[in-house]
Structure formats: structure tokens, C-alpha cells
Symmetry: C2
Subunit: 354 residues, 2 copies
Amino acid sequence: MTSPSDVRRIPAERLRTFTCQALQASGFSNDEARIGADVIVEADVRGVDTHGVTRLAGYVNMTRLGYIKPRARWQVVNDGPTTALIDGDGGLGQYLGHLAMERAIAKARGLGLGAVAVRNGTHNGMNAYYPLMAVRAGLIGFAFTQGPAIVPPFGGKTPAVATNPLSIGAPAERHEHVLVDMATTVVAGGKIRLAAKKGQPIPPTWALDGEGRPTTDPEAALKGFFQWAGGYKGYALAVMVEVLSSVLAGGLFARQVPPMRVFGQQPLIESFLVMALDISRFMPLDEFRQRVDALVDDLTSCERAAGVERILVPGQPEREMRAERLANGVPVSAAVCAELEQLARDLKLPSPLG
Amino acid sequence: MTSPSDVRRIPAERLRTFTCQALQASGFSNDEARIGADVIVEADVRGVDTHGVTRLAGYVNMTRLGYIKPRARWQVVNDGPTTALIDGDGGLGQYLGHLAMERAIAKARGLGLGAVAVRNGTHNGMNAYYPLMAVRAGLIGFAFTQGPAIVPPFGGKTPAVATNPLSIGAPAERHEHVLVDMATTVVAGGKIRLAAKKGQPIPPTWALDGEGRPTTDPEAALKGFFQWAGGYKGYALAVMVEVLSSVLAGGLFARQVPPMRVFGQQPLIESFLVMALDISRFMPLDEFRQRVDALVDDLTSCERAAGVERILVPGQPEREMRAERLANGVPVSAAVCAELEQLARDLKLPSPLG
């Protein structure tokens, strides 16, 4: 485990500049690199470290191997008054996600709702980024994303779908926003790898062994599968996310998607759907923001169960983390610092560590 | 527990006719009664018995007490090209849900997407009914519903929101459809009451005692609260359902909603949002249906974990139940049969038991 002394605080702006330069040096256009860097570093800033600069070397490597295509010739396959379908041509997932939500927002501003699907995308990073674009525009935003087959259906032991996250966000006033961004599995790989490193058992609800049986052994779990959040309920949500993204977008779905076990060294094909809803078609935006504030106040002021310090609302930990990290810099582990320095040498860029 | 000999099989059509007559006799218009009866009995037919004719005496009683208003003067408060907001005037929830989805479907057919919110509704019954209307129209349907404050926020012990269900459905061809309809809590009251009757412990993930601590004692659970499905993930979804329904619709939200502990004897105020998405804006509907079939085949043909008989997709148990019950009649317990006979006497109607 990382001790505080292994961690360096790096200003978000410096990470963003370096990430942008690394993507430009890999062949991406200025727009692709700028937007990609913003999505990636926003994950670090919000404390979603698994989707931040720790992935940068992987993205660069996948680009070198031809699994992410710089300056991809994405195309709008179908365009309607409130909908669009984009073929991403294997371009940068973050850029395609941003492009899709920009269009969904424009459509929602015009007619009240917008939905844009993308097929042949690549890893789009932190799913929450796209609903947050809608939130900043005063809209409610949705994102549904699928990917490589790593989790078996409920009751199965053949990996068939991804952890299929869904995200929904809505603007508030004093409280900025409320936002859910959740994988439909209980946990993803990071927490299990950490338990394995520490030699500690994991709760029986986290993972299955290779035979599809619940296990408390992190090593068995790493050879097995994630469990669905809420059992069959998480599975049911994941199936609907698959339908709303890959099936609707005409992309590869379920076991059609090439497998991905090692991030950064294999293809990572994703489809996604983003949607935006114009609040002002229902009530004045200011009134809505105040109502969300009142909901947050109502929930967080409830009596607490024994041992509970605070009652939170979804998105609050990340909002608080964001404020702290923008003020004090993003903590980057020694291992990731070393990766970034290596990347700087490889791409002949100034080190982001200053 | 009900033994098979206590159960009578009653044809769905007969239950539907009786439910319609009971609603008419309670003052509802022919349209309200016909649609209300269809939503109620469709729950029985799909095996969602908790939302079927077992609730009819409660609805009739709530109407008598003035908590559901027959021939309510609902109004379209805001109407846009893809959106609408309806004030339900305390009318029959099932009728208002049907009305809202009818309009969402019409808007989606016109421009690709539709979203209709309802405030001042009452209990809208089985949430799945509304996405299934969209599915029959060849669209993808969504429903988000809130209600009285019975579940505390994650970490709390003051009840603040309902079990806030969400439902999403999409059409298939051979497999008819896939559909999730889930409360955001692990279970609702029925299973806990059954364990209490049998004197059996419940799993520690189902419920909390009155102090907000997980409990295996069903009696303590009945004085306490439901637990969220997937812990904070179910809670996060419930908060977003609250935002999408009551907050957006301008209805009462969270602890503003009058409490409801005994169904049928207290007010039950709900807001909801339904949405529809036109698949044909993305790809030909037939192609989409075949892709959903292929997804279902891919998932259900995965290797099974030990002890698992079949791998299912969401909505499949209810589809299979529906076929069986339409063929053989709906099993109605002796207790519910007695309630229906009493209702027939009270309302001077022919008995539904024939």
C-alpha cells in the first residue's frame, strides 16, 4: 500500500498540460488531446483515481498498437431532431463521449431532449464527465456505457458483459449537483488487488471464483469474476445498459466484444449512449436548483445510525474531493509518478513533476 | 403461508371485469376504471402479486376516504415538443401513468424522444406497465416513481424517501422484450412479513432495526427499515429517482410527502416521470429486435455456476409467468378471495369468483 511519503501532490493544471502534450505527441489533434486530457485529469481531481493519469501510459500504448486511432474519421450515421448515432471509427473514447454529449445538449436546448449513441468507441474514461457537462449547461444528463466481456450473467461463469456503468446528474445551487456514477458490479479490480497485496480476505459479496462461487479469497477472486451490485438487480441494470448502448448503437455487444484482461495492451472497444433533458421545459431552472438543494438538506439532516459520522448524497464525496485537490494538488503515487516520468522521456516531453 | 388448497385459479379476464366494475362503482369514469383495472390485473398476470387485486380493497377504501379522487381534473401545466408536465389533481395513479406514457409515446414517435412528468398522482401500481406500453409501440420505455418517506438515507434512521423504483424496457422479437423493474431497496415488506409469520431469521442485508442497525430478526425489521440494494448504490439511484420524478415535476418530495405506514387507510401521494425513445431513429426496428434476441441468446447460453438451473434475463420470469397465468388463471389466495367477495357485497357487484 502507498504510504503518504510515496505520494506527491501535483497541481491539476500541470497534469492536464502534460496529458494533453502526451496525447498530441501520440498523434491526436489539438482538440482530441485537450478534451481527452480534461476528461482524464477531471477523474483525478474528483478522486476517481482509477480513471485518471494512472491510465495515461496505457492509452499511449494502445494508440501505438493501433487500438485507439488518432484523428479518427468519426461519422454521424443518423441525425434526427433529438437523436443522433455516431460511428466513432475507433477514436479516443473521451473525445467521442464529449462530442456526443455536446450534441445531446444542443438538441435538448432546442427541443427539450437529446440522445446521442456512439459505436466503435474506445474507453471513454470516467462516465460521470458527460452528465456533468449537461449539469454545467443547466440540464439533467445521463450516460450508459458498455465494454469488453469480463463479468458473467447472474448465475453464470462465462464472462459476457462489462461492469456497464450508468451515470445520472442534476444541477443544484448551493450544493452544485447530485450525481450517481456507478458500475453495476459491487467493486471493480482495484480493491480486490489491494486485498491480495495485503493478504486480507474480501467480503463474500464482492467476487466469484472461476467456477462462479462466492469467494473471500482475493487470489481466487482475481482469477474469477466481479459480483453484481444487489445481485440480480445489478445484473438486470447491466443488461439494460448493454441494450441502451451497444445494441441500440449498432456496435459489438456482449461476447462479440474482443476480450480485454490487461488494460493498455489489448483493444478496448466500447459503445455508449448519452442523454440530456432540459429542466426549463418543466419549471424555471432556478426553482429546480433550489428544490435539489432542499432535497439534499432534507436527506443530510436525517438522524444518523450509530457509528455514522455524516449522511451524504450521491456525488458529494467527489465534489468535496474536487475542492480539496484543486486547492492542494492531486496526490500521485510514486509508481504513477515513475510511469509519468518514463512517458515524458519516451515522448521527449518536460516532466509533469516539475 | 398459503397452501395450494387455499388458492383459487381465477381467469384474468374475470378479475379485470370485476376490478373495472369496482372502480366504476367507486365513482371512476369508464376510462379510468378500464385502464386502472388493466394495470392492476396485469400485475397479477405477470406474477407481481403485491401490486395486483390484493390492493383493490385498499384503492376502493382510499377513494371512499377522499385520498384518490375519481374523475380528477388533471391538467397539462407545461407542454413542449418532446416534454410535458401534468398535475394529476390526486387522481387514480394508474390512469395518470397511462396518460403520461401515451403522451410520451406520441412525442417520441413525432421527434424521437418524449418525457412526461406527473405530480399530485397517487399509487401508480406496477411501474413496469408504463415501459411495457412503449415496448408494445416498438419504443424503449423508462419509468421513475417516488412516494411516501419510508426508507432512511444510507447511514440514517429517519425515513426520508420511498423504495423509489425504476423500470426500463426494450422490445425483442422471439424473446418479446427485456425489462428491469426494481425497487432500489433489497426487498419490500412482503418477504419480511412472511419470515415473521414463519418465525425465521432474515438475511442481514435485507433490513435495519429502528436504530438503523442491520438485523436478522424479522420483528425488529418490521419496526425498522428496508436496506438499499447494493448499499450506497441503491441509495444513490433512489436519490436520482427522487430528482427525476418529484423534484422535476414540482411535486412533494422526500419528507414533505405525508407518511404512509398502512396501505389503503392513509394518503399515498406519488410523482413520476416516464420517457420513451424511438429506436427507428437509430436503426430499423426489426434489426434492433433481432439484436436484443441475440443478446438474450448470448447471455442465457453462458456456462452455469454449480447449482444454477438456468441463466435468465431481466423480465423473463414475468414473461413466463404471464403465459402460464393467461392459460391457467391467476392463483388468488383464500384471504384475497374473501376480500374480493366482501368488496362485491359492499359494492353490490357479482362476485369475481363465479
